[in-house]
């Protein structure tokens, strides 16, 4: 088991290195750097000026060396700027001196770099944003997992029954409704003062004024409550739960045909006890992996929902960084995203082996 975890861990590190290098390569392509130089320096730079600007700001070296600097395994660049008569370097502020600064400053040292657009340390920006997204993710999971498991178990316990058909069609329907569709429909139905059910409720006097839910989650950043946070959470949960529910249904249906269930049934155990005591525990092994692997998909959902509902979390930051060519911020976002994906994969692999005693790693 220890060897298995160790090997998985090694592969994960290798994958992370490859992925971050690919991201680094794609964000540091020549056109991106040229755009950066023109937005940071002067919009009407000539090609030679662009090259000299990039050189002076540490974008000049070979790509692999710069990747090493960013990672923190190659010493950060230091050079004396003849024009401004001062030392410039990766690891210290403009005008500082190289003696006081650490030699290495990269990801491994916990230095994520500097955001060129918001003029702040990336670590400061991304921490708060991740916390906001964490809240969103937490509530989304708190809705997805119980409802998906419930739907899946109810559908799978009597395969082919009417309940099964209705619930399966429902979960097929949710997997066909991506966030940008369900979000739009929810807003029109529940959060518009012109259409949907809010005007009706106001007319009947059940609602003071305004709308049933708020169509923007901007105020949820200060304090999420039922009114402003329901729609974003529902939107993420709606698309996310269908797949888990279908996997749970398949797993439950398979368990219900197993020999030991038949034995229990012939022994005269009541259907309720068969489902709750015999089938459920074994049926939940497969959904566990699926739930863990759902994280990467949720990441996409989070990006869409945060854009749709104006919630300035991690996904919103990623979109902003990518569209403003904020290279270091985008790199940090990618590291977080890749980290989340790889760690959930690792947990799901280890958890599967741990939960299912039939699989033994020799």
């Amino acid at each position: 088991m220890a060897f298995f975890i160790l090997r998985r861990f090694g592969v994960m590190i290798l994958t992370a290195l490859c992925l971050t290098f690919v991201v680094f390569f794609l964000t540091n392509l020549a056109p991106n750097l040229e755009k950066l130089a023109k937005t940071q320096g002067n919009a009407r730079m000539s090609d030679a000026e662009v090259i000299s600007w990039l050189d002076r700001n540490g974008y000049g070296g070979p790509l692999v060396m710069r990747y090493g600097e960013w990672l923190g395994v190659v010493p950060g660049w230091v050079r004396y700027d003849e024009l401004a008569q001062e030392w410039r370097g990766r690891c210290f502020e403009k005008g500082g001196s190289p003696e006081d600064a650490p030699r290495y400053c990269g990801l491994l040292q916990g230095d994520l770099g500097h955001s060129t657009v918001s003029d702040d340390e990336v670590a400061n920006i991304i921490g708060g944003r991740l916390a906001l997204t964490g809240v969103l993710m937490f509530w989304a999971f708190a809705v997805i997992v119980p409802s998906a498991l419930l739907v899946g178990v109810l559908a799978g316990m009597r395969e082919g029954s009417r309940t099964d058909r209705v619930l399966s069609t429902f979960s097929i329907g949710t997997t066909a409704t991506p966030e940008y569709v369900s979000g739009v429909i929810f807003i029109v139905l529940l959060a518009s003062s012109q259409t949907g059910i809010s005007p009706l409720l106001v007319q009947w006097g059940w609602l003071e004024s305004g709308t049933l839910f708020l169509g923007s989650a901007r105020s949820a950043m200060d304090g999420p409550n039922f009114w402003n946070f329901t729609l974003p959470v529902m939107t993420i949960a709606f698309y996310g739960m269908g797949y888990i529910a279908r996997m749970t249904r398949a797993s439950m249906a398979e368990v219900m045909t197993a020999q030991y269930i038949r034995t229990a049934r012939l022994k005269g155990v009541s259907f309720r006890n068969i489902v709750l005591k015999h089938a459920l525990r074994n049926a939940l092994i497969a959904p566990f992996t699926v739930i863990m692997l759902q994280f990467p998909w949720l990441l996409t959902g989070v990006v869409i929902v945060e854009t749709l509902f104006n919630y300035n979390g991690f996904g919103w930051t990623l979109v902003q960084a990518a569209s403003n060519n904020d290279i270091e911020l985008l790199l940090a976002c990618s590291v977080v995203a890749v980290f989340v994906v790889l760690v959930t994969q690792l947990i799901s692999d280890i958890g599967y082996v741990y939960l299912n005693p039939r699989i033994r790693i020799s």
């Binding site: 940008y180 749709l308 994969q345």
Partner: protein, 487 residues
Amino acid sequence: MEPLSWSGEIGLLLNPILLAAVVVFMAAFVVNIALSLGGMRPGEMVINADHSLTLRRGPVDYSLMTMRYAVLVVLLVFIGHIIGGVVLNDPQRSGIIGAMAARLTPVWIGLVVLFALSISFKRRLGLYGKLFDSPIGMTGFGLVMFWVFAAVFVQSIAPHGPIDVISQMRNELPGSVLPAPREGQYVYYLLGGDNLGRCVFSRMIYGAFEVLKIAPLATLFAFMVGITLGVPAGYFGGKLDIGVTFLANLVLAFPVILLFYLLVTPEIVAAGIPNYLSMVLFLFPILFLVILFNSRYRTQPGLRNIIVAICVGVGGIAYMSLISDASDPDLPRLFRLWPKALDLFDVPGNLLIVFVSVVFVNSPTVFRIVRGMVLDIKTRDYVAAAQTRGEGPWYIMLWEILPNARGPLIVDFCLRIGYTTILLGTLGFFGLGVSPESPDWGSTINEGRRLLTIYPHPALPPALALMSLVLGLNLLADGLREESLKD
């Protein structure tokens, strides 16, 4: 002229029926739930003394029957609107729904002909015919074919062009009349105007064309790539398997949205990355076909040479025309070498990158599925028999293993087209890769969402359209899976 109402004169007759059906359905639903919770069971078969069977109906059965008939009535009302709209062919009398139904006449004709033919010959049509035994599969197929026909007959269905702007019609409500219609111009915006004054209904139909132009083809390419890599990886195993699986996991570990943001930006297009990627990815279909036919006709060199030559020739010219674009001076020199006379078509960089990134995202998943199935199938007896016969490995892979994996692959193909449609919508939603005027559904939703709480009509139709197409594909896949498992 008056603005149109939703249901027009037909509605005077049908709306009360619809309302009644909905109320009856809800009442029956509540009764059914209450009875089930109260412990009532549906009636069971009773064996009579003379060995005949009797179904004894209880209250639960009657409530279910009521629900079923209510749904049937709703469907009939819907069909009534379509027939009424087509027959009356007068928007003032048939309302918006009828007018839309009248515009969609080619689609209805297509669907009726297709279903009539398919159902009457369904026993002779293999798996496709069996689809018409399953109500779910039939519904899904109907939804998909609705959009396919809409995309095919887009010119005659859409009353206005996708980018025809009439500025007075900005944010106008559904059924509005044009201020100063030209001779022969359709005088209504059936689903209203968007924030620039374009016809929402026409853009929705053109959006179907945009989506169906890319999604199935991109999925097909992803399958070619996935199969060409997955079959040998599963069959040979060893270092090849480890290497390709690692690469596939690498792509799979990329969050899709990040990959899109990295790949589908103007800077990346300027750096020529889409062309390099397409250079690699589009090689796979040709490779696949050549290996496929070579392994089959290896023993008949004459025939083999002809077929392989056709594959290489036709495929090669298409491939070179696709990746090279001599007229674009920004591209790297490598892509401008192909002579202009042989360059049959040019694909704009935007479209190419969208296409390539969708293929790129999908192919690792296909690879994993194919590899898994090959690992399973290669232990079967008929593979061992072929090996004993002395068949080559490629023949076994492509002509023994692959055909036996076709069932799950066809099901996955349907699901994956739906997923690709969602991906394309995501790209449009973030404004990546498509031109800002493009009528595709994702971009239209994105444009409409800014004024969503005040004017919901521009964003809602494309959202529902996308949902119905993907739902149709998912139901179709489900029906196919069910039917293919039956034998």
